[in-house]
Symmetry: C2
Subunit: 174 residues, 2 copies
């Protein structure tokens, strides 16, 4: 069995979730069983990735476990609970033997807010079945997560069309 | 109709082709018609993206148009011909009205070798149907291509498992 890798896509540029999605598609192409867990995105927006996942069918599962983006501290408890549920789901899935690749999308946010600790993440990584690949995404990954990962890419924003007043485009950004 | 965007994923890190693949999947999820053109990769390796494309079926087309990676100048003519054929195919596809998103994967290599000029690229971008999104990928994009793009992300390698002696993993990197 291949050694499972830990990949991390971080930085402020476009393409973190998207690169995770591309890796997931590639793995699915090879017949691997993929679970894509969205830690921040909630179910309100029918994104391209959700639509795609439903069309891909068996072998590609996407779950939106977040409570939407965090706007104010007044909602912290709601987000903490969603993050903890998502984390328990992630650990259970990683250890279940049902998946070859588990993506923890926008995971760095739950670390930043202290909803999950780096010690918990380290425990999950080290105790997982040997063949399971993991991908973490999100801005501002802490050094400890960089240290735990085998491969780390920083997506650096060189230029963004937002700054030209062009809004998010369906099919490209969501 | 949405204004077509020009996205560029460049830099030396992992995730350029992969982010293009993820964007393509997202677009396909929304029912957009996607063409993914591989300028360097040839048909010898059955990659995860090729397997996935064949399973996705209608609306997602992947073509491997390259002659494989360039190792020596003695093969330059073969690569030049492959690159020119790929370029003609790209222009034809972009203008055909058959695709909402066209990916020119690893395109910077054909610019670097002078097989296609930046003036040709500029002409294609400016004369394309208004709604067509384009994605270019590849290391070392020239400044002129950065200038032509709406959104540019540099994938910066922070850490890579190659350096730990772990070889490329099926389903993750190809």
């Amino acid at each position: 069995m291949a050694r499972g890798l830990v990949l991390l896509f971080t930085g402020d540029g476009k393409g973190k979730t998207t690169a995770a999605l591309g890796t997931a598609l590639r793995a699915w192409g090879h017949g691997m069983r993929v679970l894509f867990l969205q830690f921040v995105k909630g179910e309100r927006v029918m994104t391209g990735e959700r639509l795609a996942a439903s069309r891909l069918g068996e072998g590609f599962t996407l779950e939106t476990l977040g409570a939407g983006f965090i706007f104010g501290w007044e909602e912290e408890e709601k987000h903490r609970e969603a993050a903890r549920r998502a984390w328990e789901r992630a650990k259970e899935a990683v250890n279940s033997g049902k998946y070859d690749l588990v993506v923890l999308d926008e995971f760095t946010y739950v670390l930043r807010y202290g909803f999950v600790t780096i010690a918990e993440v380290e425990g999950m990584i080290r105790s997982r079945p040997a063949g399971v690949h993991l991908i973490f995404t999100g801005r501002g990954a802490p050094k400890e997560l960089v240290d735990l990962a085998d491969t780390v890419t920083e997506m650096r924003e060189v230029k963004h069309h937002y700054h030209q007043g062009i809004s998010a485009q369906k099919g490209i950004e969501y």
